[in-house]
Amino acid sequence: MKSVKILGPGCPKCKRMEALVREYAAKTGLELDIEKVEDMERIMQYDILRTPALVVDGEVKLSGVVPTENQLKEAIG
């Protein structure tokens, strides 16, 4: 099972990204371990400059965007 983390302190864009990831998981039927990380210290363990960011299996895939379905497909699989 892939681990997917959404990094974001709670801005509207971050919530949007979380909703889109959950929609994507439901649509594709992929079993994902989805976690929303809001704690700034934990967020900054990753090398990102803009939130929201999407981390898949420990690797930063997207940052600073509200993802399109294509981007999610490429990032998550």
């Binding site: 974001g8 900054m44 400059l49």
Partner: protein
């Protein structure tokens, strides 16, 4: 450039609604319709422009640029200029700050970027352009860059590193990486720019409508020169007062410029107006709260204090000059 829009506004208000062009209500409605549409068009245009700039200078590349070049003192100006052309989102200010510091960029230069980024943003520029024309907009943008440059320089004179929260100090400096490099095809990225620009317009249109509504109402009903008695340039204390009053107003920045425009038309000094606007967007309470996660209270107060001081000086300068 917007003659066609004035024509539409005239047709709508005076012909279609049948209001008298000499009446207060007719003039106020005409001004309202014309201004709302104009601001929204400018806002979309500037957001698109900034989005395209950001496409070619993504934030990761800016960071690499700032840490690789030795600019012999010009790095503060450079950071401030880059902050001006980067679209700003207040919830990204902390990751940006930490990311810059971790990238090995000195704190003062990081702060130059952080000061200018919200100060010169797409919403403020669009509203200034619509309300005051391109000259005042240039003065505003230039002033923002100066405040950021000087603010960062002054702040770098203090030993700030010890004033960061301990967990930030413990972060190791990382070698230049490939962070933030987009991989999608250009068409997808342009579509993203369009979506972002639309999102900006969607987020602020209601504030614009409210602000212009208030402005239009005042436009027709407040007597000319009304503010000249209280807010003219010879009252020096109006500048610091404007800066302090503006701090809690952040969320409504889009609504403030159209109101300020009427204040200026009716006699408020332009330097005071500029100081007020800069303080609204540059010294925001929500940003202060976010920054608390990485900076000690002392550093935040110093940061706000230095920026406020710079803004006040600029306000005095423009009141004296204009």
């Amino acid at each position: 450039m917007f003659d066609w829009l004035q024509y539409l506004a005239d047709q709508l208000v005076y012909r279609l609604l049948g209001l008298d062009a000499e009446s207060h209500l007719g003039q106020a409605l005409n001004f309202f319709f014309y201004d709302v549409v104009k601001v929204l068009i400018l806002l979309l245009g500037i957001s698109l422009l900034m989005g395209v700039v950001h496409l070619f200078f993504p934030i990761g590349r800016i960071r690499d640029f700032l840490r690789r070049r030795k600019l012999y003192g010009a790095e503060f100006l450079m950071a401030s200029l880059l902050g001006a052309v980067t679209p700003f989102c207040s919830c990204s200010s902390v990751p940006l700050f930490v990311g810059f510091v971790r990238g090995g960029i000195p704190l003062g230069i990081t702060l130059s970027f952080l000061i200018t980024s919200p100060l010169v943003n797409e919403v403020a520029l669009a509203l200034f352009l619509s309300s005051f024309g391109w000259k005042v907009t240039l003065i505003y943008g230039g002033s923002g860059v100066i405040v950021g440059t000087l603010g960062g320089m002054v702040l770098s004179r203090f030993r700030l590193e010890g004033w960061l929260e301990p967990w930030v100090q413990q972060l190791k400096i990382q070698p230049p990486g490939e962070a933030d490099t987009p991989s999608e095809p250009l068409a997808d990225r342009l579509r993203g720019v369009w979506a972002e620009a639309l999102a900006v317009v969607k987020k602020v249109w209601l504030y614009v409508v409210i602000g212009i509504g208030i402005g239009a109402a005042m436009h027709g009903y407040v007597p000319d020169d009304f503010f000249a008695q209280y807010l003219s340039a010879d009252r020096w204390w109006t500048v610091p007062l404007a800066v302090v009053l503006a701090v809690p107003l952040y969320a409504n920045a889009a609504a403030i410029v159209p109101v300020i425009q009427v204040f200026v038309q009716k006699g408020m000094a332009l330097g005071t107006a500029l100081a007020f606007m800069m303080s609204t967007v540059g010294l925001s309470t929500p940003e202060g709260i976010l920054l608390k996660k990485v900076m000690s209270l002392r550093l935040i107060l110093l940061y706000f204090g230095v920026v406020a001081f710079m803004i006040i000086l600029l306000g005095f300068f423009f009141n004296w000059l204009l």
